[in-house]
Amino acid sequence: MKILVPVKRVLDYNVKPRVKADGTGVDLANVKMSMNPFDEIGVEEAIRLKEKGVATEIVAVSVGPAKAQETLRTALAMGADRAILVQTDDEVEPLALAKIFKAIADAEQPGLVILGKQAIDGDNNQTGQMLAALTGWAQGTFASAVNVEGDHVSVTREVDGGLETVKLKLPAIVTTDLRLNEPRYASLPNIMKAKSKPLDTKTPADYGVDTTPRVKTVKVSEPPVRSAGVKVADVDELVAKLKAMGVHS
């Protein structure tokens, strides 16, 4: 079984985003960029399925600028077998992304597509579900456990009240939540080896997908700032403050 793993290059998890002064977006010039953490979990899960003998080949895909090659090389160094860069400098919305991934899925015929549940820049949480709609496949979103059993996959999902498990017919779409696994670090020899793994470069037009945005960003602003209140000296003062607000047992 082949597994397709879309990965996105985003502002590094540890970098504090800064809104540009002109309100057009978040400043991405000269800041550290990394693989979206949820996608990293997706790559790791695919590798584990390959190590278990369930998967035979892992294809990493990224839609983004030329530099997204680095993100794909990271996926290859972790253990993906080959990569496809769908190169564009435009911002591509989840719906258009899902259409590109649908076209790639048609060509590659994977048994599973494993995506991050959301990218930590746009926080849309849409692409996996949209891809499932377009392919007509079942979806196991916010996964904390994935078990392939014959022609089905059972996915344990993190839902508001706890966990739920669904059984999906393959091929299927899985989106990852934080506790699915802990991604490995690529070793130096594997980073060197990744440089010679195949990486194809395509464009959205190669897949016949129009990436013109449907949603226009009018402006991007700083969130309202919450100012610090007061420090209380001890528990008695805190109790007095809380009681004054009507908070007591």
């Binding site: 719906l95 849409q126 579900q129 979103t141 508001d160 669904v166 449907r214 949603v215």
Partner: protein, 309 residues
Amino acid sequence: MKTLVWVEHDGSAVKDATLAAVTAASKLGEVHLLVAGEGVGGVASAAAQIAGVQKVHVADNAAFGHNLPENIAPLVAELMASHDAFVAPATTTGKNIAPRVAALLDVMQISEILSVEGPKTFTRPIYAGNAIATVESSDAKLVLTVRGTAFEKAAATGGSGTVEAVSAGGDTGISSFVGAEIAKQDRPELTSAKIIVSGGRALGSSEKYQEVIVPLADKLGAALGASRAAVDAGYVPNDYQVGQTGKIVAPEVYFAIGISGAIQHLAGMKDSKTIVAINKDEDAPIFQVADFGLVADLFNAVPELTGKI
């Protein structure tokens, strides 16, 4: 404009998240609801009482019993032929279903709206709430998810919507529900609680969480929460997590105990009316957003607080 709001329910009662979605939808136009599930006549009657609701579409079918998006999304897409906007609360169910509906309609969804600025213009958080985007849709129909803490809840009674059965849809046969482990608690749900007591990594163990955090929550009738660090360390189950990737909460009072205040955590609770922080590190970022900060050893301060409050 005619809106179709997804009713989140547990099979017998309408969940609060629905009420915030109704408020958001009412800013766009006429409010219709969709109640899907098995044996949901009671839920539909209750939903019809929500203030401002004109019509309730009820899809009562075993195939809709566990909110499987493979079965629900085609049903919603069909109903959308006579509606202009699909509005779902940004719960794990809403987030699972809405994008599948959007793609079936060839619409780009707008996720977790914070406000309605115009007929097709909304604000929404990006970068874990570190920036707020104002966005305008150019699609013919809208698909939205609504952040529950950003909208007042519509009154659960006072409305008189008509109830209409929907016969569309069925089982697509590609997915099935196996089981759930839903924590049963005798306390309020995190996302609708008036008071939340959250514990962080400084607690050091699951036992200490039980010993220190739980009695304070019990005394105040509060919901229990935790930081991602405490969940990752295994002190509490994942559904306790407050933050960017956990639950977004905005209670009257939020107690952050032994929580340093990473941006991912702040993203989940900074809209709380009053934030109380107890931490022994006076430089912890949580104090920059706390209304009342107490620099103290939580193992002494919290039991003392529990005793005196």
